[in-house]
């Protein structure tokens, strides 16, 4: 799964600003990454790090006052960040599917799940009503909904949380998109259901060659689901690489701190490792490396020079990347 051979999604130096009364606030500051066909890229970070914003920009649902102020997004060679609304709307759903955190609010409560699926299929694919319904039924079966023949005519409120999320996944799959943006797809679900959904996503990815951008704050979900992971902090990618590499041998002190702060099920430590302080607000991002006030290894150099993200398979935006396993 190398991202080098013709990426499906290519984001280059993406910048998003929010225009406020006190001038523009930079929310996303030069984000670049690729996703290969059939690859799952995990995007992790704390609330406000810009991970959902990146996903929103890719599906073209960025609302004012937020706007893309620089960089580019290419999907399969086509530049999509500057597309007018109508072609973008056609692309969305057809080429890019979306799965959001709360399955209840992403479904229409007054339409049966069958109607919602059929409507989406008819919008994107050149098929008749009967064919669309058949496809809807197949999709429900594919995402593992038992007794799909009766469930298709039920309303969202008759489904449990996990089943609703399966319906949302079926909706995202309607037009066989090449890319799915999954924003915290398992956060609202119980652990046992969460495992069912991530297994389903992995299977779909394998069988259909769909690429997935998996946005979540749960490192465990990433470790079990993603091929590569991008760690975000204060609007930038601070580390990106193959998931096993990044979780076992993090190069960036922030990633190392994040990994060490996760309580373990296997052992009980008296004190958890913690990163003191909090992520800076958008209007108070420090000069130099944005992590420097919280970093144990920060020097004067870090306070003045912003580190870039080198282009390599496992890269960290840090002047003094950790080379030893940090949480041994």
């Amino acid at each position: 799964m190398s991202a080098v051979a013709s990426p499906l999604l290519s984001v280059r130096d993406l910048r998003i600003v929010f225009d406020g009364r006190l001038g523009p606030l930079t929310a996303l500051d030069g984000v670049s990454f690729d996703i290969a066909p059939g690859e799952i890229l995990g995007v992790v970070g704390e609330s406000g790090a810009g991970k959902s914003l990146t996903g929103t920009a890719v599906i073209g649902l960025l609302d004012p006052p937020g706007r893309i102020s620089g960089g580019s997004i290419h999907l399969d060679g086509l530049r999509i960040d500057n597309l007018p609304p109508e072609p973008m709307r056609k692309l969305r759903g057809r080429q890019i599917g979306a799965i959001f955190q709360d399955p209840l609010t992403s479904l229409h409560p007054l339409l049966t799940v069958g109607d919602q699926l059929v409507e989406t299929i008819l919008t994107h694919l050149p098929v008749g009503k009967a064919q669309a319904r058949k496809r809807a039924l197949d999709l429900l079966k594919e995402v593992g909904i038992p007794a799909a023949e009766t469930r298709i005519d039920q309303y969202p409120h008759q489904f449990s949380g996990g089943m609703r999320q399966r319906v949302v996944i079926a909706l995202a799959l309607c037009a066989e998109p090449k890319l799915i943006i999954a924003d915290e797809p398992t956060t609202a679900l119980d652990v046992s259901i969460q495992a069912q959904i991530t297994t389903l996503l992995k299977r779909l990815c394998r069988e259909h060659g769909t690429a997935i951008m998996l946005v979540t704050h749960d490192m465990g979900v990433i470790a079990e689901t993603a091929d590569r992971v991008a760690v975000m902090y204060a609007g930038r990618i601070v580390e990106i690489g193959p998931v096993a590499e990044v979780t076992r041998r993090p190069h960036h002190p922030y990633t190392a701190g994040l990994m060490a702060s996760i309580p373990s099920v296997h052992t009980r430590n008296a004190v958890l490792n913690q990163i003191d302080g909090a992520m800076p607000r958008l209007n108070a991002i420090p000069d130099g490396c944005s992590f420097n006030p919280r970093c144990r290894f920060a020097s004067g150099f870090c306070r003045e020079h912003k580190p870039g993200l080198p282009v390599s398979a496992h890269a960290a935006a840090c002047h003094f990347p950790l080379m030893e396993p940090a949480h041994a």
Binding site: E46, S47, S160, G161, G162, M163, D190, V191, S192, I193, Q194, A195, Q196, T198, T199, H217, D218, M219, G220, V221, A223, E224, T225, V243, A244, T247, G257, L258, M259, S261, I262, P263, S264, V265, H266, R268, N269, A270, V271, L272, N273, Q274, I275, D276, A278
Partner: protein, 322 residues
């Protein structure tokens, strides 16, 4: 100051809710009454200065149990008993109980200054005589939870999720509380912030000899916090025991499945076969062992006879096998 011995004894407590349709429509449709058994005959004791955790998925009754402990919900049957102790402030009587809620955005009044939020219980319980002493105490509490004295004059919106949870903890401590019921206190927080709050809670427990009833669905957090724990499924305890014992040697198939399904950063199980099925409705629980429809080991006896919670080693287990 720290004593041992039970601080809370819960004996056969049940909480049922009547969720039937109105009487008239029941009469017309000949529908029977529908009773939701949120908590069924649950018994446990919490030792002073320890952490007792309750783990389970949504709808298993863990929050109802927490609400019963703080007195927001009366048990339908059974009893909860707080023992008389020497409290943190030296007085003798039942422990002062406070609750820390999951959502730090909803549990603080947005129109009150942080100082007033923390001072409210002090004023209400008349724990300090004059305003100067109250201000002093509020400042001390803010420092105890790792905020600054000057934060008292700010409003909750100026704080991040983790800082708000610190304010909630300060408010709970303001009553000289001995017993804190924490309902998913870190579920709404990011992992790095979660570590800060958990460390704070452990430090406070050591410093003040606090007792925690810790409710969570996150097994790794529970592993970190607990001395004793209970795994709950559909309103009943299925396994209880010392945390090391339950995690080291899980006996109930449900506990084992829970432990297997946690996504693990250290040993990612990428080829997992997830537990099938979902938690059944507590209005119509399956007959026999409530877990049998999802259990790989289920035999005929599991479908008819509900296993009682019996003592096993240092804990208890409700399973026909194991």
């Amino acid at each position: 100051m720290r004593e041992s011995g039970p601080i809370l004894t819960v004996s056969n407590a049940s909480c049922r809710f009547d969720v039937s349709a109105p009487a008239l429509s029941r009469l017309l449709t000949r529908e029977p009454r529908r009773i939701l058994r949120a908590v069924e005959t649950v018994s446990f004791t919490v030792e002073r200065g320890t952490t007792f955790s309750i783990v389970g998925e949504s709808g298993c009754g863990k929050s109802t149990l927490a609400r019963m402990v703080v007195g927001l919900q009366r048990p339908t049957e059974g009893a909860l008993h707080f023992s008389d102790i020497t409290r943190i402030d030296g007085t003798i009587g039942p422990p002062r109980v406070q609750m820390i809620f999951q959502d730090p955005y909803a549990s603080l009044n947005p129109r009150w200054r942080v100082g007033d939020i923390i001072a409210e219980p002090i004023r209400e319980l008349k724990l300090r005589q004059d305003e100067a002493a109250i201000t002093q105490r509020v400042g001390d509490l803010l420092e105890i939870v790792g905020l600054s004295r000057t934060d008292a004059s700010r409003y909750p919106h100026a704080f991040s999720g983790g800082q708000r949870q610190r304010i909630s903890i300060a408010r709970a401590l303001a009553t000289e509380a001995d017993f804190l019921v924490c309902d998913e206190p870190t579920s709404a927080l990011d992992v790095s912030v979660q570590a800060q709050i958990l460390n704070l809670m452990v430090r406070l427990q050591k410093e003040f000899g606090l007792t925690y009833l810790f409710i969570s669905h996150n097994l790794s957090v529970v592993r970190h916090m607990s001395d004793q724990l209970a795994i709950m499924y559909l309103g009943r305890f299925v396994e209880t025991g010392p945390a090391d014992e339950v995690f080291g040697n899980p006996r109930h198939p449900y506990t084992r499945l829970l432990l297997e399904t946690i996504p693990d950063v250290e040993k990612p199980n990428r080829a997992r076969r997830p537990m099938s099925g979902e938690v059944p409705s507590p209005i119509a629980p399956p007959p026999g062992c409530a877990f049998h429809p999802r259990c790989a080991m289920a035999a005929d006896i599991c479908r008819v006879e509900r296993p009682p919670l019996r003592t096993v080693a240092a804990g208890a287990l409700a399973c026909h096998f194991g």
